[in-house]
Point group: C2
Chain length 152, copies 2
């Protein structure tokens, strides 16, 4: 099937032209990105995802299946024992920038000033600096300085 060769599922895309819309068709629901977040933070097993997210088990079951079907997670038997394991694929791993910008936006706008929240740090313990979109000339990019060019 074409999925195997392209890596891209054949969905009824909400808006087939727009990469934002396609991305949201894959991970734009209440839980998928939280599952991805926890996978990035070391969760592997069904029970561990359930414990960390608090998601209902039937929904988690469905989300894991979808994420596997869409190539964001890979399911495999754990080396020892009879456990399942869900690990990020390259595509799933590559959502790091998305989760990070969401995190940084949340830190700026979803907490009251002075309210405590968790922080992402690098291996030396230094806080990760904020991502700022820059153009090829190094200037800051913005809603006003960019626009979408239609696909050819």
């Amino acid at each position: 099937m074409s999925l195997a060769t392209t890596g891209v599922p054949n969905l009824d895309w909400t808006d087939p032209e727009c990469p934002v819309a396609r991305a949201l068709d894959l991970v734009g629901d209440r839980w998928s990105l939280l599952v991805i977040r926890d996978a990035m933070d070391g969760a592997r097993s069904f029970t561990e995802f359930q414990r960390r997210t608090g998601i209902a088990r039937n929904i988690l079951s469905d989300r894991l299946r979808r994420l596997v079907a869409h190539g964001l997670l890979a399911q495999r038997a754990a080396p020892s024992g009879r456990r399942q394991e869900y690990v990020l694929t390259d595509a799933g791993h590559d959502l790091f920038a998305v989760v990070l910008t969401l995190r940084q936006w949340g830190e700026r706008h979803a907490f009251a000033p002075g309210e405590a929240h968790s922080v992402l740090v690098d291996r030396h313990g230094a806080p990760v600096p904020e991502i700022a979109p820059t153009g090829s000339d190094g200037t800051l990019l913005d809603t006003d300085t960019t626009h979408v060019r239609k696909s050819r």
Copy 2:
């Protein structure tokens, strides 16, 4: 009320500690980020959002109300005529990096190789370069090189 002073709504957060989860509580549904995307691309009116997204009118009505209530959009009467206008607040505007990383991820992973898609360009027409998270020392950041430090 406290909302006015903090700018942060009082929801039942899915996971109150985690900025990612809070961000998703605000914009983590199928439509909100598409509305934001279209607002960034110049949409202002109810009908225009409806036309661009294809969302059901009652749902759009609800989403616009939520986004206004959460401080991502501001509603005001249009200068001339008797129309309503929805414009991005600073917080909404600041979602640019989130929408951009989603877009770039979608371009990489939600299209078959060679499949056409729209492109984001700067004011000179040059494609916007890909965002890559870097640490304070300039090295590329990654799931493996970062971790969450719990809030104090």
